[in-house]
Protein backbone atom coordinates (compact mmCIF):
# COMPACT_ATOMS: atom_id res chain seq x y z
CA UNK A 1 0.00 0.00 0.00
CA UNK A 2 1.34 3.45 -0.90
CA UNK A 3 0.32 6.76 0.56
CA UNK A 4 -1.56 8.93 -1.91
CA UNK A 5 -2.70 8.19 -5.43
CA UNK A 6 -0.44 8.66 -8.42
CA UNK A 7 -1.71 11.11 -10.99
CA UNK A 8 0.04 12.42 -14.05
CA UNK A 9 0.81 16.06 -14.80
CA UNK A 10 1.55 17.14 -18.36
CA UNK A 11 5.01 18.68 -18.53
CA UNK A 12 3.90 21.07 -21.24
CA UNK A 13 0.65 22.52 -19.92
CA UNK A 14 0.24 21.21 -16.36
CA UNK A 15 -3.03 19.37 -16.97
CA UNK A 16 -3.45 16.47 -14.53
CA UNK A 17 -5.03 13.18 -15.50
CA UNK A 18 -5.99 9.85 -13.96
CA UNK A 19 -5.72 7.16 -15.21
CA UNK A 20 -2.53 7.65 -17.17
CA UNK A 21 -2.82 8.69 -20.82
CA UNK A 22 -0.49 8.51 -23.79
CA UNK A 23 -0.95 12.15 -24.80
CA UNK A 24 -2.28 15.08 -22.81
CA UNK A 25 -5.98 15.62 -23.63
CA UNK A 26 -5.44 19.40 -23.58
CA UNK A 27 -2.21 20.06 -25.48
CA UNK A 28 -1.32 16.56 -26.72
CA UNK A 29 2.05 16.77 -25.06
CA UNK A 30 3.60 13.37 -24.58
CA UNK A 31 5.64 13.81 -21.39
CA UNK A 32 4.20 13.59 -17.88
CA UNK A 33 5.47 13.85 -14.34
CA UNK A 34 3.91 11.65 -11.70
CA UNK A 35 2.52 13.47 -8.70
CA UNK A 36 0.75 12.05 -5.66
CA UNK A 37 -2.47 13.39 -4.28
CA UNK A 38 -3.10 12.45 -0.68
CA UNK A 39 -6.55 13.86 0.05
CA UNK A 40 -9.91 14.40 -1.54
CA UNK A 41 -13.55 15.06 -0.77
CA UNK A 42 -16.23 12.39 -1.18
CA UNK A 43 -18.90 13.56 -3.60
CA UNK A 44 -21.05 10.48 -4.19
CA UNK A 45 -21.15 7.05 -2.61
CA UNK A 46 -22.53 3.75 -3.93
CA UNK A 47 -22.93 0.60 -1.89
CA UNK A 48 -22.28 -2.43 -4.08
CA UNK A 49 -24.64 -5.00 -2.62
CA UNK A 50 -24.59 -7.48 -5.47
CA UNK A 51 -21.96 -8.56 -7.95
CA UNK A 52 -23.18 -10.39 -11.00
CA UNK A 53 -21.90 -13.92 -11.24
CA UNK A 54 -20.70 -14.04 -7.62
CA UNK A 55 -22.25 -15.64 -4.57
CA UNK A 56 -21.50 -14.77 -0.96
CA UNK A 57 -20.69 -11.22 -1.97
CA UNK A 58 -20.06 -8.86 0.92
CA UNK A 59 -21.27 -5.28 0.33
CA UNK A 60 -18.56 -2.78 -0.52
CA UNK A 61 -18.61 0.98 -0.73
CA UNK A 62 -17.15 2.96 -3.58
CA UNK A 63 -17.13 6.71 -4.04
CA UNK A 64 -16.48 9.46 -6.48
CA UNK A 65 -13.81 11.61 -4.85
CA UNK A 66 -12.63 14.99 -6.01
CA UNK A 67 -8.99 15.19 -5.12
CA UNK A 68 -7.35 18.35 -3.91
CA UNK A 69 -5.68 18.37 -7.30
CA UNK A 70 -9.10 18.66 -8.94
CA UNK A 71 -9.29 15.16 -10.37
CA UNK A 72 -12.45 13.08 -10.01
CA UNK A 73 -11.46 9.50 -9.26
CA UNK A 74 -13.32 6.42 -8.14
CA UNK A 75 -12.09 4.99 -4.85
CA UNK A 76 -12.96 2.12 -2.58
CA UNK A 77 -13.99 3.35 0.85
CA UNK A 78 -12.48 1.65 3.90
CA UNK A 79 -15.06 3.11 6.28
CA UNK A 80 -18.51 4.68 6.39
CA UNK A 81 -17.42 8.04 4.95
CA UNK A 82 -20.23 9.88 3.20
CA UNK A 83 -20.54 12.85 0.87
CA UNK A 84 -18.56 15.85 2.09
CA UNK A 85 -16.06 13.80 4.08
CA UNK A 86 -12.38 14.58 3.55
CA UNK A 87 -10.61 11.29 2.97
CA UNK A 88 -6.97 10.25 3.00
CA UNK A 89 -6.05 8.42 -0.17
CA UNK A 90 -3.92 5.33 -0.57
CA UNK A 91 -3.16 3.08 -3.50
CA UNK A 92 -2.95 -0.70 -3.58
CA UNK A 93 -1.47 -1.89 -6.86
CA UNK A 94 -3.20 0.58 -9.17
CA UNK A 95 -6.43 0.89 -7.24
CA UNK A 96 -7.27 3.96 -5.11
CA UNK A 97 -8.78 3.62 -1.65
CA UNK A 98 -9.84 6.16 0.93
CA UNK A 99 -10.79 6.54 4.58
CA UNK A 100 -11.84 9.56 6.60
CA UNK A 101 -8.93 11.82 7.44
CA UNK A 102 -7.60 11.54 10.96
CA UNK A 103 -9.30 8.28 11.83
Amino acid sequence: MREGVGIWRCKACGTTVFPQRLLCPQCHGHAFDEARVTEGVVEEVAVIRHMIGQENWQPRRIANVRTHGGQSITVGLRDESGPGTVVELTQEEGAPFGRAKGR
Partner: protein, 397 residues
Protein backbone atom coordinates in the same frame (compact mmCIF):
# COMPACT_ATOMS: atom_id res chain seq x y z
CA UNK B 1 -41.31 17.60 -50.84
CA UNK B 2 -40.87 13.99 -51.87
CA UNK B 3 -38.76 11.64 -49.82
CA UNK B 4 -36.23 11.25 -52.60
CA UNK B 5 -35.64 14.99 -52.71
CA UNK B 6 -34.34 14.98 -49.16
CA UNK B 7 -30.60 15.10 -48.63
CA UNK B 8 -30.27 12.67 -45.80
CA UNK B 9 -26.82 13.05 -44.43
CA UNK B 10 -26.51 16.78 -44.20
CA UNK B 11 -23.30 18.60 -44.87
CA UNK B 12 -22.02 16.39 -47.66
CA UNK B 13 -25.45 16.21 -49.20
CA UNK B 14 -25.29 12.46 -49.75
CA UNK B 15 -28.56 10.64 -50.25
CA UNK B 16 -28.82 7.32 -48.43
CA UNK B 17 -30.08 4.90 -51.02
CA UNK B 18 -29.81 2.19 -48.39
CA UNK B 19 -32.79 1.06 -46.36
CA UNK B 20 -33.40 -1.41 -43.58
CA UNK B 21 -35.36 -4.10 -45.35
CA UNK B 22 -35.55 -6.84 -42.72
CA UNK B 23 -35.17 -7.50 -39.01
CA UNK B 24 -34.91 -10.68 -36.99
CA UNK B 25 -34.07 -11.94 -33.57
CA UNK B 26 -33.44 -15.13 -31.68
CA UNK B 27 -35.26 -16.07 -28.54
CA UNK B 28 -33.93 -14.30 -25.44
CA UNK B 29 -33.24 -16.30 -22.31
CA UNK B 30 -31.70 -15.61 -18.92
CA UNK B 31 -30.00 -18.99 -18.88
CA UNK B 32 -28.98 -20.65 -22.15
CA UNK B 33 -29.76 -24.35 -22.49
CA UNK B 34 -27.01 -26.88 -23.21
CA UNK B 35 -26.01 -26.57 -26.84
CA UNK B 36 -26.97 -22.92 -27.07
CA UNK B 37 -24.14 -20.47 -27.59
CA UNK B 38 -23.46 -17.01 -28.92
CA UNK B 39 -23.06 -18.59 -32.34
CA UNK B 40 -26.37 -20.45 -32.29
CA UNK B 41 -28.28 -17.38 -31.13
CA UNK B 42 -26.65 -15.39 -33.92
CA UNK B 43 -27.61 -18.10 -36.43
CA UNK B 44 -31.23 -17.92 -35.30
CA UNK B 45 -31.29 -14.13 -35.64
CA UNK B 46 -29.67 -14.23 -39.09
CA UNK B 47 -32.12 -16.84 -40.36
CA UNK B 48 -35.03 -14.76 -39.07
CA UNK B 49 -33.72 -11.49 -40.54
CA UNK B 50 -33.02 -12.95 -43.98
CA UNK B 51 -36.48 -14.53 -44.06
CA UNK B 52 -38.03 -11.25 -43.01
CA UNK B 53 -36.16 -9.39 -45.75
CA UNK B 54 -36.89 -12.04 -48.35
CA UNK B 55 -33.17 -12.25 -49.10
CA UNK B 56 -31.30 -15.41 -50.02
CA UNK B 57 -28.12 -15.87 -47.99
CA UNK B 58 -26.20 -16.15 -51.27
CA UNK B 59 -27.08 -12.53 -52.00
CA UNK B 60 -25.47 -11.20 -48.82
CA UNK B 61 -22.28 -9.35 -49.75
CA UNK B 62 -21.45 -7.65 -46.48
CA UNK B 63 -21.60 -8.42 -42.78
CA UNK B 64 -21.02 -6.44 -39.60
CA UNK B 65 -20.96 -8.08 -36.21
CA UNK B 66 -20.47 -7.02 -32.61
CA UNK B 67 -20.30 -9.39 -29.68
CA UNK B 68 -18.52 -9.66 -26.35
CA UNK B 69 -18.46 -13.44 -26.57
CA UNK B 70 -17.62 -14.34 -30.14
CA UNK B 71 -13.91 -14.78 -29.36
CA UNK B 72 -11.70 -16.48 -30.22
CA UNK B 73 -13.69 -16.29 -33.43
CA UNK B 74 -13.76 -13.05 -35.33
CA UNK B 75 -16.08 -11.70 -37.99
CA UNK B 76 -14.57 -13.75 -40.77
CA UNK B 77 -14.95 -16.93 -38.75
CA UNK B 78 -18.61 -16.11 -38.31
CA UNK B 79 -18.93 -15.50 -42.05
CA UNK B 80 -17.35 -18.90 -42.61
CA UNK B 81 -19.72 -20.62 -40.20
CA UNK B 82 -22.68 -18.88 -41.81
CA UNK B 83 -21.47 -19.85 -45.28
CA UNK B 84 -21.27 -16.23 -46.39
CA UNK B 85 -18.67 -15.22 -48.97
CA UNK B 86 -18.33 -11.47 -48.63
CA UNK B 87 -16.69 -8.39 -50.06
CA UNK B 88 -17.42 -6.11 -47.10
CA UNK B 89 -16.75 -7.08 -43.46
CA UNK B 90 -16.71 -5.21 -40.17
CA UNK B 91 -16.30 -6.12 -36.50
CA UNK B 92 -17.30 -3.40 -34.08
CA UNK B 93 -16.12 -3.07 -30.50
CA UNK B 94 -18.10 -0.06 -29.29
CA UNK B 95 -20.38 -1.81 -26.82
CA UNK B 96 -23.73 -0.17 -26.41
CA UNK B 97 -23.27 2.02 -29.44
CA UNK B 98 -21.98 -0.81 -31.65
CA UNK B 99 -25.36 -1.43 -33.22
CA UNK B 100 -25.85 2.18 -34.16
CA UNK B 101 -22.24 2.45 -35.27
CA UNK B 102 -22.56 -0.61 -37.50
CA UNK B 103 -25.76 0.82 -38.94
CA UNK B 104 -23.86 3.93 -40.04
CA UNK B 105 -21.08 1.94 -41.64
CA UNK B 106 -23.56 -0.37 -43.37
CA UNK B 107 -25.53 2.55 -44.75
CA UNK B 108 -22.39 3.92 -46.31
CA UNK B 109 -21.39 0.45 -47.46
CA UNK B 110 -24.59 0.06 -49.46
CA UNK B 111 -24.60 3.69 -50.61
CA UNK B 112 -21.10 3.41 -51.97
CA UNK B 113 -21.74 0.17 -53.77
CA UNK B 114 -19.25 -1.72 -51.62
CA UNK B 115 -21.97 -4.29 -51.00
CA UNK B 116 -25.53 -4.62 -52.22
CA UNK B 117 -26.86 -6.45 -49.17
CA UNK B 118 -25.35 -6.15 -45.70
CA UNK B 119 -26.24 -8.12 -42.58
CA UNK B 120 -25.73 -6.30 -39.29
CA UNK B 121 -25.54 -8.67 -36.33
CA UNK B 122 -25.21 -8.44 -32.57
CA UNK B 123 -25.40 -11.28 -30.10
CA UNK B 124 -24.06 -12.62 -26.85
CA UNK B 125 -24.43 -15.58 -24.55
CA UNK B 126 -21.90 -14.82 -21.87
CA UNK B 127 -23.76 -16.40 -18.97
CA UNK B 128 -23.78 -14.51 -15.70
CA UNK B 129 -20.30 -15.60 -14.66
CA UNK B 130 -18.94 -14.76 -18.09
CA UNK B 131 -20.51 -11.35 -17.94
CA UNK B 132 -18.91 -10.82 -14.55
CA UNK B 133 -15.50 -11.52 -16.05
CA UNK B 134 -16.18 -9.12 -18.91
CA UNK B 135 -17.33 -6.44 -16.49
CA UNK B 136 -14.11 -6.73 -14.50
CA UNK B 137 -11.86 -6.68 -17.55
CA UNK B 138 -13.69 -4.23 -19.75
CA UNK B 139 -10.57 -2.21 -20.44
CA UNK B 140 -7.26 -1.56 -18.73
CA UNK B 141 -8.66 1.26 -16.59
CA UNK B 142 -11.43 -0.99 -15.33
CA UNK B 143 -9.14 -3.95 -14.72
CA UNK B 144 -6.51 -1.93 -12.88
CA UNK B 145 -8.40 0.86 -11.15
CA UNK B 146 -12.03 -0.23 -10.66
CA UNK B 147 -12.34 -4.00 -10.41
CA UNK B 148 -9.97 -4.24 -7.41
CA UNK B 149 -12.39 -1.97 -5.53
CA UNK B 150 -15.22 -4.45 -6.01
CA UNK B 151 -16.97 -1.81 -8.07
CA UNK B 152 -19.71 -4.16 -9.23
CA UNK B 153 -19.20 -3.64 -12.95
CA UNK B 154 -21.29 -1.03 -14.70
CA UNK B 155 -23.88 -1.12 -11.91
CA UNK B 156 -21.41 0.58 -9.59
CA UNK B 157 -20.26 3.09 -12.17
CA UNK B 158 -23.79 4.16 -13.03
CA UNK B 159 -24.85 4.19 -9.39
CA UNK B 160 -22.43 7.08 -8.95
CA UNK B 161 -23.70 8.77 -12.13
CA UNK B 162 -27.28 8.30 -10.91
CA UNK B 163 -26.43 9.96 -7.59
CA UNK B 164 -25.04 12.94 -9.47
CA UNK B 165 -28.13 13.12 -11.70
CA UNK B 166 -30.49 12.90 -8.72
CA UNK B 167 -28.66 15.80 -7.06
CA UNK B 168 -28.30 17.91 -10.19
CA UNK B 169 -31.90 17.57 -11.36
CA UNK B 170 -33.77 17.16 -8.09
CA UNK B 171 -35.00 13.68 -8.94
CA UNK B 172 -36.68 11.22 -6.63
CA UNK B 173 -36.23 7.48 -6.73
CA UNK B 174 -39.77 7.09 -8.06
CA UNK B 175 -38.84 9.14 -11.12
CA UNK B 176 -36.67 6.30 -12.35
CA UNK B 177 -39.56 4.02 -11.46
CA UNK B 178 -41.80 5.70 -14.03
CA UNK B 179 -39.37 4.61 -16.75
CA UNK B 180 -39.09 1.04 -15.52
CA UNK B 181 -42.86 0.71 -15.13
CA UNK B 182 -43.67 2.23 -18.53
CA UNK B 183 -41.18 -0.01 -20.29
CA UNK B 184 -42.51 -3.08 -18.51
CA UNK B 185 -46.00 -2.18 -19.72
CA UNK B 186 -44.68 -2.12 -23.29
CA UNK B 187 -42.81 -5.40 -22.71
CA UNK B 188 -46.07 -7.09 -21.76
CA UNK B 189 -47.00 -6.70 -25.44
CA UNK B 190 -43.69 -8.06 -26.74
CA UNK B 191 -43.61 -11.86 -26.92
CA UNK B 192 -39.79 -11.81 -27.10
CA UNK B 193 -39.36 -9.84 -23.86
CA UNK B 194 -37.87 -11.78 -20.95
CA UNK B 195 -39.81 -9.85 -18.29
CA UNK B 196 -43.45 -9.21 -19.19
CA UNK B 197 -45.29 -9.12 -15.87
CA UNK B 198 -46.62 -5.61 -15.19
CA UNK B 199 -44.70 -3.68 -12.56
CA UNK B 200 -46.25 -1.36 -9.98
CA UNK B 201 -44.59 1.59 -8.31
CA UNK B 202 -44.88 -0.17 -4.97
CA UNK B 203 -43.04 -3.19 -6.36
CA UNK B 204 -40.43 -0.96 -7.95
CA UNK B 205 -39.78 0.92 -4.73
CA UNK B 206 -39.68 -2.28 -2.66
CA UNK B 207 -37.12 -3.99 -4.90
CA UNK B 208 -33.77 -4.77 -3.28
CA UNK B 209 -30.89 -2.40 -3.82
CA UNK B 210 -28.17 -3.58 -6.17
CA UNK B 211 -25.85 -0.59 -6.03
CA UNK B 212 -27.41 2.31 -4.15
CA UNK B 213 -29.30 4.23 -5.44
CA UNK B 214 -29.94 1.67 -8.19
CA UNK B 215 -32.29 -1.16 -7.32
CA UNK B 216 -33.18 -4.33 -9.18
CA UNK B 217 -35.48 -2.73 -11.74
CA UNK B 218 -32.96 0.01 -12.55
CA UNK B 219 -30.34 -2.46 -13.73
CA UNK B 220 -30.54 -4.03 -17.14
CA UNK B 221 -30.85 -7.84 -16.94
CA UNK B 222 -28.19 -9.80 -18.81
CA UNK B 223 -29.68 -12.38 -21.17
CA UNK B 224 -28.50 -14.55 -24.02
CA UNK B 225 -29.75 -13.77 -27.50
CA UNK B 226 -29.06 -12.10 -30.80
CA UNK B 227 -30.48 -9.61 -33.27
CA UNK B 228 -29.88 -9.01 -36.95
CA UNK B 229 -31.01 -6.47 -39.51
CA UNK B 230 -30.62 -6.43 -43.29
CA UNK B 231 -29.66 -3.35 -45.27
CA UNK B 232 -29.94 -3.00 -49.01
CA UNK B 233 -31.11 -0.53 -51.61
CA UNK B 234 -34.67 0.40 -50.81
CA UNK B 235 -36.01 -1.21 -53.99
CA UNK B 236 -35.09 -4.62 -52.55
CA UNK B 237 -37.61 -4.26 -49.72
CA UNK B 238 -40.32 -6.92 -49.70
CA UNK B 239 -43.24 -5.92 -51.89
CA UNK B 240 -46.16 -4.35 -50.14
CA UNK B 241 -44.15 -3.36 -47.07
CA UNK B 242 -43.20 0.21 -46.24
CA UNK B 243 -39.47 0.76 -46.38
CA UNK B 244 -37.45 2.33 -43.58
CA UNK B 245 -34.69 4.74 -44.41
CA UNK B 246 -32.30 6.69 -42.26
CA UNK B 247 -32.66 10.43 -42.63
CA UNK B 248 -29.57 11.20 -40.56
CA UNK B 249 -26.99 9.37 -38.51
CA UNK B 250 -24.31 10.74 -36.23
CA UNK B 251 -21.80 9.27 -33.77
CA UNK B 252 -19.36 10.44 -31.11
CA UNK B 253 -16.37 8.74 -29.51
CA UNK B 254 -14.51 9.87 -26.39
CA UNK B 255 -16.34 13.19 -26.43
CA UNK B 256 -14.89 14.63 -23.23
CA UNK B 257 -11.89 12.51 -22.22
CA UNK B 258 -13.87 11.43 -19.11
CA UNK B 259 -13.36 14.90 -17.66
CA UNK B 260 -17.04 15.67 -17.07
CA UNK B 261 -19.70 14.26 -14.78
CA UNK B 262 -21.35 11.81 -17.18
CA UNK B 263 -24.68 13.61 -17.06
CA UNK B 264 -24.26 14.51 -20.69
CA UNK B 265 -23.45 11.96 -23.36
CA UNK B 266 -21.69 12.19 -26.69
CA UNK B 267 -25.11 12.83 -28.21
CA UNK B 268 -24.83 16.37 -26.86
CA UNK B 269 -22.01 16.99 -29.35
CA UNK B 270 -24.08 16.21 -32.44
CA UNK B 271 -27.78 16.48 -31.58
CA UNK B 272 -28.31 19.84 -33.28
CA UNK B 273 -26.53 18.63 -36.40
CA UNK B 274 -28.50 15.36 -36.36
CA UNK B 275 -31.85 17.14 -36.34
CA UNK B 276 -30.73 19.65 -38.94
CA UNK B 277 -29.50 16.90 -41.23
CA UNK B 278 -32.71 14.95 -40.72
CA UNK B 279 -34.83 17.98 -41.49
CA UNK B 280 -37.12 17.27 -38.57
CA UNK B 281 -37.35 18.36 -34.93
CA UNK B 282 -37.49 16.37 -31.69
CA UNK B 283 -41.19 17.14 -31.42
CA UNK B 284 -41.85 15.42 -34.74
CA UNK B 285 -40.74 12.04 -33.44
CA UNK B 286 -43.47 9.42 -33.07
CA UNK B 287 -41.48 6.68 -31.35
CA UNK B 288 -38.07 6.54 -29.70
CA UNK B 289 -35.68 3.67 -28.98
CA UNK B 290 -33.25 4.98 -26.38
CA UNK B 291 -30.41 2.76 -25.23
CA UNK B 292 -31.47 1.82 -21.72
CA UNK B 293 -28.86 0.07 -19.66
CA UNK B 294 -30.04 2.33 -16.81
CA UNK B 295 -32.93 4.84 -16.47
CA UNK B 296 -30.29 7.43 -15.64
CA UNK B 297 -28.83 7.16 -19.10
CA UNK B 298 -32.23 7.11 -20.81
CA UNK B 299 -32.86 10.52 -19.29
CA UNK B 300 -29.39 11.80 -20.16
CA UNK B 301 -29.76 10.80 -23.81
CA UNK B 302 -33.28 12.18 -24.14
CA UNK B 303 -32.12 15.45 -22.64
CA UNK B 304 -29.15 15.59 -25.00
CA UNK B 305 -31.50 14.97 -27.93
CA UNK B 306 -33.58 17.96 -26.90
CA UNK B 307 -36.61 15.83 -26.09
CA UNK B 308 -36.95 16.98 -22.46
CA UNK B 309 -38.68 20.34 -22.16
CA UNK B 310 -36.67 22.86 -20.13
CA UNK B 311 -34.24 20.07 -19.13
CA UNK B 312 -36.77 19.26 -16.41
CA UNK B 313 -36.08 15.57 -15.98
CA UNK B 314 -38.38 15.19 -12.99
CA UNK B 315 -41.38 16.62 -14.81
CA UNK B 316 -40.54 14.54 -17.85
CA UNK B 317 -40.54 11.35 -15.78
CA UNK B 318 -43.73 12.15 -13.93
CA UNK B 319 -45.73 13.61 -16.81
CA UNK B 320 -44.35 12.46 -20.16
CA UNK B 321 -43.45 8.95 -19.02
CA UNK B 322 -45.74 8.48 -16.03
CA UNK B 323 -48.80 9.63 -17.97
CA UNK B 324 -47.76 7.63 -21.03
CA UNK B 325 -47.47 10.64 -23.30
CA UNK B 326 -44.27 9.46 -25.00
CA UNK B 327 -43.80 6.07 -26.70
CA UNK B 328 -40.24 5.28 -25.63
CA UNK B 329 -38.69 1.82 -25.86
CA UNK B 330 -41.91 0.24 -27.01
CA UNK B 331 -40.36 -3.23 -27.07
CA UNK B 332 -39.86 -2.92 -23.34
CA UNK B 333 -36.33 -1.70 -23.69
CA UNK B 334 -33.42 -3.78 -22.56
CA UNK B 335 -34.55 -3.29 -18.96
CA UNK B 336 -37.56 -5.54 -19.60
CA UNK B 337 -36.82 -7.29 -22.90
CA UNK B 338 -33.30 -8.15 -21.73
CA UNK B 339 -29.79 -7.17 -22.75
CA UNK B 340 -28.00 -9.83 -24.81
CA UNK B 341 -24.81 -7.83 -24.63
CA UNK B 342 -24.79 -4.17 -25.50
CA UNK B 343 -24.49 -4.66 -29.27
CA UNK B 344 -27.58 -6.81 -29.67
CA UNK B 345 -29.44 -4.68 -27.14
CA UNK B 346 -28.87 -1.67 -29.34
CA UNK B 347 -29.95 -3.59 -32.41
CA UNK B 348 -33.17 -4.54 -30.65
CA UNK B 349 -34.02 -0.86 -30.30
CA UNK B 350 -33.29 -0.24 -33.97
CA UNK B 351 -35.39 -3.26 -34.95
CA UNK B 352 -38.27 -2.03 -32.83
CA UNK B 353 -38.13 1.36 -34.54
CA UNK B 354 -38.27 -0.40 -37.91
CA UNK B 355 -41.24 -2.53 -36.89
CA UNK B 356 -43.07 0.52 -35.57
CA UNK B 357 -42.44 2.49 -38.76
CA UNK B 358 -43.60 -0.47 -40.86
CA UNK B 359 -46.68 -0.74 -38.65
CA UNK B 360 -45.78 -4.33 -37.79
CA UNK B 361 -45.45 -3.94 -34.02
CA UNK B 362 -48.64 -5.79 -33.17
CA UNK B 363 -50.30 -4.93 -29.87
CA UNK B 364 -47.70 -2.29 -29.11
CA UNK B 365 -48.06 -0.44 -32.42
CA UNK B 366 -47.97 3.33 -32.11
CA UNK B 367 -50.72 4.56 -34.41
CA UNK B 368 -49.49 6.26 -37.54
CA UNK B 369 -45.81 6.08 -36.63
CA UNK B 370 -43.80 7.81 -39.37
CA UNK B 371 -40.61 9.06 -37.70
CA UNK B 372 -38.41 7.41 -35.09
CA UNK B 373 -35.19 8.17 -33.32
CA UNK B 374 -32.88 5.45 -32.03
CA UNK B 375 -29.72 5.77 -29.99
CA UNK B 376 -26.77 3.79 -28.75
CA UNK B 377 -24.59 4.55 -25.74
CA UNK B 378 -21.81 2.61 -24.17
CA UNK B 379 -18.22 1.71 -23.50
CA UNK B 380 -17.87 2.52 -19.83
CA UNK B 381 -14.28 3.64 -20.04
CA UNK B 382 -13.79 4.76 -16.44
CA UNK B 383 -16.46 7.01 -14.94
CA UNK B 384 -19.16 6.71 -17.64
CA UNK B 385 -19.68 5.76 -21.27
CA UNK B 386 -17.52 7.26 -23.97
CA UNK B 387 -19.39 6.29 -27.14
CA UNK B 388 -22.77 7.37 -28.43
CA UNK B 389 -24.63 7.41 -31.71
CA UNK B 390 -28.12 8.16 -32.96
CA UNK B 391 -30.21 7.97 -36.10
CA UNK B 392 -33.47 9.42 -37.28
CA UNK B 393 -35.46 6.84 -39.22
CA UNK B 394 -38.50 7.35 -41.41
CA UNK B 395 -41.26 5.33 -42.96
CA UNK B 396 -41.15 5.43 -46.75
CA UNK B 397 -44.42 4.59 -48.49
Amino acid sequence: MTVDSVLYTGRRGTLHSAAIIGVGQSAYTRRPAPGQSTHTFIRDAVVAALADAGVDARDVQGMAVASFSLAPDTAVDLAWKLGLSLRWLLQDTNGGSSAMNMLGHALRGVDSGAADVILVIGGDATGLAGYGRIASNYNIATRDHLAPLGHGGPNGVYALVASRQIKAFGLEKSDYGHIAIAQRAWAAKNPFAVYRTPLTMAEYLAAPMVADPLSRFDCVPVVAGAQAIVLAHSDRAPRGRAGVRVRAHRASFNYDNQAGDGLKTGISTFAAELWQAAGVAPGDIDVASIYDDYPTMVLAQLDDLGMVADHDLARFCRRDIGEQRRPINTHGGMMSAGQPGGPAGGLNGISEAVLQLQHRAGERQVAGARLAVATGYGMTMYRYGGTAAAAVLERVE
